[in-house]
């Protein structure tokens, strides 16, 4: 008798468990999404996602695949294709949802030659091996770019950026975000952050222009003995630490001498002075270091 009760109980529990599993699985199924878009040539992909991860990577198909998962039914993923333009956006459909329920994570595969426009508030954005112009508008989201090439425009409020083996041109601004440019091949770099740090660890290209500016924090550029650049470095209330064997400016560019007697400045050329490097900080430290 007892065995019969236990057996009946366990059968009931099993049924409930299976039902729960099926329900959860169905929920997960409805929260997963995958869409495909055939494109020709160079597509333009726009992504707007307030919260969540966005991963974009290049593949060798003439197709854009958008897949991912949303945290709940409180958000909807809208996609639209108009010719070669593909728009992807996360929309909130329930005003009373908790912040965690509004998250959507994306994995987007695009042709190597693609243009991207990404807008995100929080969450990480990563882009891998895409060649084309890109713009990023973020608030707290961190950005990681790898092996990308093109004109890169980054506007962030507090998010940090790591750009590894990036090529082309970069215009980037942030308030408190850090920037790390590792092994870049860029001819034109303009980076400004208020309280963040800036690291430029790579070669300066001939005729390249590199303008790095912050208010506080550290600006560090690393050079090799083959690099050829003119440098102007000024920290109004901070320090300039230099390891480069610079000689007085070969090109006789008039230095912008600050009236502030406390400012530390460095003007000079290394080798033929082919690239132009301008480093300025209000109260931060500027380091010009030799690459190990």
């Amino acid at each position: 008798m007892k065995n019969g009760v236990i057996s009946g109980w366990s059968q009931g529990a099993g049924t409930v468990l299976i039902a729960l599993t099926l329900t959860c699985s169905a929920g997960a199924q409805t929260r997963r999404f995958e869409r495909h878009f055939n494109v020709q040539g160079k597509p333009v992909i726009t992504v707007q996602n307030a919260t969540g991860r966005i991963q974009v990577r290049a593949w060798d198909k003439s197709e854009v695949m958008v897949s991912g998962q949303k945290a709940s039914a409180s958000v909807e993923v809208d996609t639209e294709q108009v010719g070669n333009r593909i728009e992807i956006a996360t929309h909130v459909v329930s005003e009373n949802a908790s912040p965690d329920a509004l998250r959507a994570d994306y994995e987007i595969s695009v042709p190597t030659e693609s243009e991207l426009q990404v807008r995100s508030d929080s969450g990480n954005v990563t882009v891998d091996s895409v060649h084309g112009d890109m713009s990023f508008d973020t608030v707290a989201a961190d950005l990681s770019l790898q092996d990308v090439e093109g004109y890169l425009m980054i506007k962030s409020i507090g998010g940090s950026t790591v750009c590894t083996r990036c090529a082309g041109r970069l215009d980037a601004t942030s308030i408190s975000g850090n920037f790390q440019l590792l092994q870049p091949s860029m001819e034109n770099v303009r980076v400004q952050t208020s309280s963040g740090n800036i690291l430029f660890d790579g070669g300066f290209m001939n005729r390249g222009i590199y303008v790095l500016k912050n208010y506080s924090g550290t600006i560090e550029v690393r050079f090799s003995s083959n690099d050829s650049f003119d440098v102007r470095a000024t920290s109004l209330y901070g320090h300039v630490v230099n390891q480069a064997p610079v000689v007085p400016d070969r090109h006789k560019m008039p230095p912008q001498t600050p009236a502030n007697g406390l400012a530390q400045s460095l003007f000079g050329s290394m080798n033929d002075g082919r690239a132009k490097v301008e480093l300025s900080s209000f109260s931060g430290t500027i380091k010009i270091s030799k690459r190990e």
Binding site: I175, S195, F282
Partner: protein, 230 residues
């Protein structure tokens, strides 16, 4: 006369922005602090605009064009499909009166930054109004409006815009607030430095940069408030 709510009051303002308030709206504004503040802001803007216009100091057309191009290129504004007027084109299809003052502040700051010349007077009493270039002579009332502190106006606008950010994204709001604190601190440090060394162009450039960042912050907050509210 049935009482009306704040949303209805805003709708009335949208539908008839000029002229006296209808009786129900006037009754509401008397009893609602927020709406009274909004109404007084709009009155101040309207009055300043009329005085500005009456003294014929309309800036040249190219200034507006270059301002707009500059703001678009900086990402401060975005073109939208034309629907109603310029307001809707710039700031979305549903104008939010809560953003009205902020938009005006943004335009003033953009004008200030776009037309700033290095010959700005180096007065001891450093004020934002003194940053306006000499060729942009402004009438008394307008100068008063600007001098009565664009910084304070901006702070008020930021407060209002931040209050309109959706509660469902606390990370967004906290990040914006945290960065506002950073920018305010920079502005304070730079202002102190400019007061100490009024002839140092680099220090002034840093101060302008800090104000520009505050404007960017305001633009971002407005953008997020408008887009997440849709």
């Amino acid at each position: 006369m049935s009482p009306i709510q704040c949303a209805q009051f805003e709708r009335i303002l949208e539908e008839q922005p000029d002229g006296p308030l209808p009786a129900p709206a006037a009754a509401h504004v008397n009893g609602c602090t927020d709406c009274r503040l909004l109404w007084s802001d709009l009155e101040a803007i309207r009055t300043a605009g009329m005085e500005w216009g009456s003294e014929e100091v309309a800036p040249p057309e190219h200034l507006w064009i270059s301002l707009r191009v500059e703001m678009e290129s900086e990402g401060l504004i975005q073109r939208r499909p034309a629907q109603a007027g310029w307001w809707a084109t710039w700031f979305g299809t549903a104008p939010r009166w809560a953003l009205a003052g902020a938009s005006i502040s943004l335009l003033l700051i953009a004008a200030m930054l776009a037309t700033y010349q290095t010959t700005a007077p180096a007065g001891k009493d450093f004020r934002v109004a003194s940053l306006l270039p000499a060729h942009l002579s402004v009438p008394g009332a307008t100068e008063k409006l600007i001098a009565a502190d664009l910084g304070e106006t901006l702070d008020g606008d930021l407060k209002r815009v931040f209050a309109s950010l959706p509660e469902r994204n606390p990370l967004l709001a906290s990040s914006l607030r945290e960065n506002l604190g950073i920018v305010d601190n920079l502005i304070a440090v730079c202002e102190k430095s400019v007061r100490e060394r009024p002839n140092d162009k680099m220090t002034r450039d840093y101060l302008y940069g800090a104000y520009q960042q505050k404007a960017v912050l305001l633009a971002t907050a407005m953008d997020r408030s408008a887009s997440e509210g849709q």
